[in-house]
């Protein structure tokens, strides 16, 4: 649900100097030299659709924690069990898979806007949401909001805002591709109408046109760095320079489409090259996301900042492969596979 694949180029928003531009192109492939020692928190990435190579690359690039929002899998679901198993996999198998690479995996759970239009099924999904929203490591209701901006989408957006309020959970709001500006304003107005504090709402997939209003009204503004259809990271740097780091966060929203799970480290490197202060980089690529979603009470930075703590069961057994961050690595360049 996160993108429409129309390979059009980014609009020309690149405002940096010629020198910055040529440096940025010269470091292709070696950007990590600019992010040494940095740690990243990706608050929106669909790891279910990614491979172990991606997990390894994320860990190598300094991503220590991530949030996987529940979303549309590309193939519409036809029954409640598919939703149930998907939600269970977000808190179960995917969380475990991530831990094998030393990355702390959180998720948000919700009925996405596209599938909200299938009302008979949506009703059933609403029934099982509370059970999942109360689980450990579920840090919000998400990603919910508008796609086509239909009446059904509005109905389930409102119903899920009520759930979030009742459970005191942050809300991760997907904003539509089409008619984005109006859809974003409408999403915020409805959240306020339901009495949700703007600091509990993360408005996602912003761009130059939506950011000012989102920040002015006190919401968190998330930016998805996603090739072709959302933000490019050059544009992102200019936004941080213009608006400063407060309540702004960057994510990759990497999924089954042509996307880049390393969007955050790459954007951090570009910010570094373009002389954004280190502290501002830290805020928009790590701390703000952590602060926003830690309002769920389900995130302890100490759980991941120094590597994942070894689970008691694993310690008890002594010899499992599961020690945090110590999963066996394969040398990708080696011809020999053992």
């Amino acid at each position: 649900m996160c993108q429409e694949h129309k390979p059009i180029g980014n609009p020309s928003h690149f405002e940096g100097t010629e020198q910055e531009k040529s440096t940025a192109h010269a470091v292709d492939g070696t950007f990590a030299q600019y992010t040494q020692g940095m740690k990243f928190f990706d608050p929106h990435v669909h790891m279910t659709s990614r491979t172990t190579d991606d997990y390894q690359a994320l860990a190598d690039a300094g991503v220590v924690a991530l949030i996987e929002p529940a979303f549309w899998l590309g193939q519409p679901r036809t029954g409640l069990s598919s939703f149930k198993d998907y939600f269970a996999s977000l808190v179960g198998w995917e969380r475990f898979r991530s831990s094998q690479f030393g990355i702390k995996h959180y998720c948000t759970i919700g009925l996405n806007s596209r599938e909200a239009n299938h009302e008979a099924l949506a009703e059933q999904v609403m029934e099982i949401l509370p059970l999942f929203l109360q689980k450990e490591g579920v840090v919000g209701v998400g990603e919910i909001g508008f796609d086509d901006q239909t009446a059904a989408e509005e109905k389930y957006y409102r119903a899920q805002l009520e759930l979030a309020k009742e459970m005191n959970l942050p809300v991760q709001v997907h904003t539509p591709h089409r008619d984005k500006k109006k859809g974003t304003e409408r999403s915020m107005a409805i959240a306020l109408e339901h009495g949700i504090a703007p600091n509990m709402v993360i408005i996602d997939h912003n761009n130059e046109e939506t950011v000012k209003s989102v920040l002015d009204q006190g919401f968190y503004a998330a930016f998805t760095i996603y090739p072709f259809t959302k933000m490019g990271n050059e544009r992102m740097v200019e936004i941080v320079k213009q608006y400063g780091p407060e309540r702004i966060m960057v994510n990759s929203a990497a999924d089954w489409g042509i996307s880049d799970p390393l969007a955050i480290p790459k954007t951090a490197a570009l910010m570094k090259i373009k002389e954004v202060p280190d502290e501002h980089i830290r805020l928009v690529t790590y701390q703000n996301a952590l602060d926003a979603f830690a309002q769920s009470g389900q995130i302890q930075e100490s759980d991941f900042i120094n590597g994942l703590e070894i689970d008691q069961t694993q310690k008890f057994n002594g010899n499992t492969i599961l020690r945090g961050g110590q999963a066996p690595r394969i040398n990708k360049d080696s011809l020999i596979i053992r």
Binding site: G92, W93, L131, E136, G137, Q312, T313
Partner: protein, 250 residues
């Protein structure tokens, strides 16, 4: 069904007043509401590590979850299994011997053996009496073999020696041959499973083991021979081979 009296006593000894009060309140609930209490446990109960005794290696929140599950009806236990995150799955799996009708959850137990999530597998395999009491031979052998395949230490399985059998010993021999062909090894302590079922094929495995460059294999071979000659004489001696071993070094 195993009595949960020790669980209740251990909780009473470790829980704070606020934790105990919360639990008492939850246990007045039934059905779906009580199932939701199970989910909410970590919000109200700490994860104090239990250092010794019957529940050594468990955490307080797991004990509380097991206590709650034993009060639930079968439909709600099933609903929890179907929606469990990993910590919940561990607690549910540990609760199996304490449920009012353990044998009706056999499929959940064998599903835990099939799990690729280490902690879930470990919750059924280690320190759990359920497999010993309810698994048939095929399911039992699958459990032990998966442990060996994943290089987990088998001495933590309750009933290991008691439920050793010919089919398991034979399969172990085949498995060792595969590993040896691949230039790998099997942990030396697994040979404790074979003395009662020794045959020609196993005898030649033991001879091969006795010639290994790895001293632990040599010890294992001599323990097997000793046990064959004098059954019961190696009781306790396998302990020295219970340390985890690197498997890729022959």
């Amino acid at each position: 069904m195993k009595t949960n009296i020790n669980i209740i006593e251990t909780i009473a000894a470790l829980a704070s007043e606020a934790e105990s009060n919360w639990l008492v309140e939850q246990k007045t609930l039934t059905g779906k509401a009580l199932a939701l209490s199970f989910v909410k446990v970590p919000r109200f109960i700490s994860k104090i590590n239990i250092e010794s005794g019957e529940f050594s290696g468990w955490t307080l929140d797991q004990l509380v979850r097991v206590d709650i599950v034993t009060q639930l009806d079968e439909a709600n236990v099933t609903a929890l299994f179907e929606t469990a995150e990993m910590q919940e799955a561990v607690a549910l799996t540990r609760s199996l011997p304490y449920l009012p009708n353990p044998s009706s959850f056999l499929l959940r137990a064998t599903d835990a053996v099939r799990s690729n999530m280490g902690p879930v597998f470990d919750a059924i395999a280690f320190g759990n009496t359920y497999p010993k009491d309810y698994f048939n031979e095929a399911a039992w052998n699958q459990l032990v073999l998966k442990c060996i395949f994943n290089d987990k230490a088998i001495h933590q399985i309750i009933g290991l020696d008691e439920r050793a059998n010919q089919a398991l010993a034979d399969t172990l021999s085949d498995f060792a041959h595969e590993r040896w062909s691949a230039g790998r090894r099997v942990p030396s302590q697994v040979w404790r499973l074979v003395p009662r079922f020794i045959n020609e094929s196993l005898r030649s495995d033991i001879e091969k083991l006795a010639l290994s460059k790895n001293p632990r294999d040599v010890v294992a071979a001599s323990l097997v021979k000793q046990e064959v000659q004098n059954p019961g004489s190696t009781h306790g001696l396998w302990q020295e081979l219970e340390e985890p071993e690197p498997i890729y070094i022959v």
